[in-house]
């Protein structure tokens, strides 16, 4: 009886290990330092008045269970978060005056990050929803970002980042 229990335990452990290796092999890796490539990005992403703001640089650290993202831009305060890849909601470390929560999941070869940002303004409280779809292809990262706000039609822009 004891032998059967031990064998079943070993079998189960091996199965879990094989599953973890399988996931690790198929999951895309977004780790690295990424810099915005203006030439390859949507026209409305760059310049003095972007349609949607994209970070100039992304620092990404990924493990099998979570992904940390620090987004920095020239003269703008950084935004960072460590997302659990199981899709659970986390607090985003946003600049003072901004409250933001977000969640991330791996969807095939894509990373999907959704977030909700709130801040006050002279027009009252503002709530903006973002959805980012990340795709990595070698040393190129593409981020498609959609911004949705009450009273407004959603807009989507694409940015391309090069790995440093």
């Amino acid at each position: 009886m004891r032998r059967w229990t031990v064998a079943a335990g070993i079998g189960f452990a091996l199965m879990l290990g094989a599953r973890a290796i399988s996931l690790a092999q198929t999951a895309p890796d977004f780790s690295g330092m990424w810099r915005l490539n203006q030439a390859k990005s949507s026209r409305a992403v760059v310049g003095n008045t972007p349609d949607i703001q994209f970070a100039s640089q992304l620092e990404v650290r990924q493990t099998p269970t979570d992904i940390s993202v620090t987004a920095t831009s020239v003269r703008q305060r950084p935004v960072s978060a460590t997302y659990k890849l199981d899709g659970s909601k986390v607090n985003v470390q946003a600049p003072e005056g901004i409250t933001e929560t977000g969640q991330a999941t791996l969807n095939g070869s894509n990373l999907v990050i959704t977030s909700r940002r709130s801040f006050s303004s002279p027009a009252g409280d503002v709530v903006v929803d973002f959805k980012e779809v990340w795709t990595v292809n070698g040393s190129e990262l593409t981020v498609e970002k959609t911004r949705t706000q009450v009273g407004d039609t959603p807009s989507t822009q694409k940015a391309v980042y090069d790995k440093l």
Binding site: Q53, P122, A123
Partner: protein
């Protein structure tokens, strides 16, 4: 006398260069890219000047209070290229998409706006970094 004229010319040039630099600032120095905002209101005044036209828009808050916003846009040449004229603005209802000023004042930089009735649109395609 010639020296005086030359000095006066140079001084005037420096003075106006300073004004121009102050007016034509970069987006990131003045506006918060982390704070996008959409506003709807009525244009009460139009500053039709270079390098940026300015719209003054009355926006009603959820509590009923009306706040006049200053909206920085592209210059008249860019607006005219997109089919907009100075006389299109005052009194028109407008929807503006832009970014809040860092200083917390009711000021935005418009990435686009739409005049509701005439459906005339402005989309900023400025390439200047």
């Amino acid at each position: 006398m010639r020296v005086m004229v030359a000095l006066a010319t140079v001084s005037t040039g420096i003075l106006f260069a300073g004004i121009s630099l102050q007016a034509h600032h970069s987006f990131s120095a003045t506006y918060d890219g982390n704070k996008p905002i959409t506003l709807r209101g009525t244009i009460v005044k139009m500053g039709w000047q270079n390098p940026h036209a300015h719209l003054y828009v009355d926006v009603k808050n959820p509590d009923g209070k009306v706040v006049t916003w200053e909206v920085e846009s592209a210059g008249p040449t860019t607006l005219m290229k997109q089919g907009l004229r100075k006389e299109d603005f005052v009194g028109a209802e407008v929807i503006i998409k832009g970014f809040l000023a860092k200083d917390g004042t009711p000021t935005v930089n418009a990435s686009s706006f739409t005049l509701v009735e005439s459906k005339k649109e402005f989309v900023n395609d400025e390439k200047t970094p």
